[in-house]
Symmetry: C2
DNA sequence: GGTCGTTTGTGAAATCCTTCACATAACGTA
DNA sequence: TACGTTATGTGAAGGATTTCACAAACGACC
């Protein structure tokens, strides 16, 4: 069969491999726009800050997309990786929490461009519900479960205060959501089969603090 | 010697270990507020979503902070980890880019609470320069290098468009900054000794997309 | 003081991830 | 068709991180 799907046979793929694939697509798309036809693991590695062997290993987890002696077709490889990452489509996303972070995300074009369409926004604050953020109307979080089902929402972005996280997570999981991006500094509990990714900015700053403390003293 | 500093003898500490330490502090501080005196690796692991062995291993990279048979003193362990991460002080942070993400960050109290004090804000847009965001005045990015030196800025948070990143990074590194938190979807090049941490939200969403594509088909 | 139950700290084993190295496939040339 | 050059795909080696498992340390209790 031409179209390999070796990767859904329950193999374990590391997080860093996925991050690199995500990076490779971005590089390849840039090259597509520049009209480049072919590339090599060497070039991708150079541009992506890794090694050629790593690039080939990452790809080999999912199939073989190149031609020996020639390299890869930029367009085809991009297609393959997009298909691996599930990016050949639009994902329906709901945002919960139209606060500072929430509105920043809403007005960012990069998400829709990359296939993540924020189809609905929810908040609990009566002062915000009914109002507009950008071109979208903020809905009452009371209708969240119903809304998720009605709109076929697949991913929820959570930008609410920490204490509100767990109840909302329970609710959206009940409504069938299996992917959550969480900005609160607190890891919610979810059942098997649901993926949560946390964006914890304070942790990132603390990692910087550690790095600076390590080699700072001698400066 | 009572105060061990075994960790600055050039040992390699993994990123994930640092993230977990950061998590442990947060848990311990919560327990401190609740008035709990002691805890165990078991409890920390349970609460932090890891294993007891992992907790002990993480801590053992830096010293030994517990009492066998008894566990850890909540307060002392928090102190030790804060000291390891360099959190026993305030870090001087500058924000570059007072756009959507930038202003969200500025108005967030969590950073100062955890020792990251945003002492200055810079932007290139003449319409923004001179204006206020929260209680801070936006300064012209032309004065960034000078400002960094004058204010003793140690960490820079970059919330500017991708194409502006590299020049600003070069400039702030020249001014002596060794820690950068970058929101643009593009990894800047920096010399040895400078740490950059990237927050790439699109990559996080793409990782969710992958996870959903993996086990989605059977649903 | 001795014994018991507890929990740490840590070598050793197991697992996961990256790098190495090379057989293999593809193409151009003659 | 044979040969030379190139760059992939992948087992095997090497490193790093996580898990295991247990000796050592501590307090309680008698
Ligand atoms: N702003 C930042 O820079 C920043 C940085 C790091 C982390 N965070 C985290 O991100 C989250 C959001 O931060 P923010 O600064 O945007 O906060 P915010 O207070 O500006 O916004 C939170 C929004 O959530 C809404 N909300 C509260 N409870 C809700 C509920 N049960 N259902 C629906 N909506 C509800 C509020 O009405 C508000 O509009 C917080 O957990 C915060 O800790 C924010
Ligand atoms: N907003 C989001 O939700 C979001 C999500 C993911 C990534 N990002 C990334 O974060 C970065 C900022 O995004 P944003 O949405 O806040 O953009 P924005 O356009 O709202 O803000 C960018 C700000 O940077 C300023 N700026 C431009 N060039 C500058 C320079 N040379 N020096 C100083 N300031 C300069 C602009 O004047 C503007 O105020 C971008 O790289 C974007 O890709 C944003």
């Amino acid at each position: 069969m031409a179209f390999e799907r070796a990767f859904d046979v329950a193999k374990k793929i590391s997080d860093s491999a996925i991050h690199r694939l995500s990076l490779y697509v971005r590089i390849l798309e840039e090259w597509e726009r520049e009209g480049r036809d072919t590339t090599s693991s060497e070039e991708l590695a150079e541009r992506g800050g890794t090694t050629a062997a790593q690039v080939r290993k990452d790809l080999s987890l999912f199939g073989s997309f190149g031609k020996r002696g020639l390299g890869y077709s930029v367009g085809e490889l991009a297609d393959h990786i997009r298909s691996i990452l599930g990016l050949g489509r639009t994902w329906r996303v709901a945002l919960v929490g139209a606060g500072r972070i929430g509105t920043a995300l809403l007005e960012y074009r990069g998400f829709r461009e990359r296939g993540f369409d924020i189809v609905a926004v929810y908040d609990a604050d009566p002062a915000k519900v009914g109002g507009c953020v950008g071109e979208r109307t903020v809905r009452d979080v009371a209708g969240l479960e119903e809304g998720i089902r009605a709109e076929g929402v697949e991913i929820v972005v959570l930008a609410v205060p920490g204490e509100a996280v767990q109840p909302i997570v329970d609710l959206v999981v009940r409504a069938g959501v299996r992917g959550i991006l969480n900005f609160a500094p607190l890891k919610p509990r979810v059942p098997e089969g649901v993926t949560v990714r946390d964006v914890n900015l304070v942790m990132e700053l603390e990692a910087l603090s550690f790095a600076l403390s390590q080699d700072g003293p001698d400066a």
